[in-house]
């Protein structure tokens, strides 16, 4: 799909801009509003539709995961930097049921 837009511009961005509309990036502004932002909107919609309560996997104290050779330098040394209590278990298990 990108090829449709890139084919006339394949000679180079500046040349194409000069040939079509003059320097100023009109093509790219158009592409931003017509292609990129609607694509962001569609992907956002898709995310909201797929959200909702997800069942979290059962906790198994695997030795190759949640390794603590040395405590982290922040907090209590046991939580990762972006720890999410709902989906990230500690080495001993999930925090809340």
């Amino acid at each position: 799909m990108m090829a449709l837009y890139l084919r006339p511009l394949s000679r180079g961005l500046a040349t194409a801009a000069k040939e079509e509309h003059g320097v100023g990036g009109k093509t790219w502004r158009l592409l931003t509003f017509v292609l990129a932002l609607p694509a962001v909107a569609v992907c956002t919609l898709n995310s909201w539709l797929h959200a909702g309560k997800h069942e979290r996997p059962e906790f198994k104290p695997y030795h190759h995961l949640r390794i603590r050779t040395k405590p982290y330098s922040w907090g209590d040394g046991n939580h990762t930097l972006f720890h999410n209590p709902h989906v990230n278990p500690l080495p001993t298990g999930y925090e809340h049921p």
């Binding site: 198994k60 104290p61 695997y62 030795h63 190759h64």
Partner: protein
Amino acid sequence: MSNFSTPPFDPRFPNQNQTRNCYQNFLDFHRCTKIMKRRGKDSSPCDYYRKVYHSLCPLSWVQRWTDQIREGTFPGKI
């Protein structure tokens, strides 16, 4: 008189590092036993794998893996 044997050459593991040989036979023994039990058959054909991994694997590895299987934390697929 001589009742000693050693695992035969396994062309899947031709080089000096026999780590995977040990691990593979350990896995194969447990998979074999599990499937034979599930089908209600005698699991003595699986003894080949047990003899091989007993020869090749360090005892500490076997003990660690057996403990992990018992706890349910063994990382391999059995």
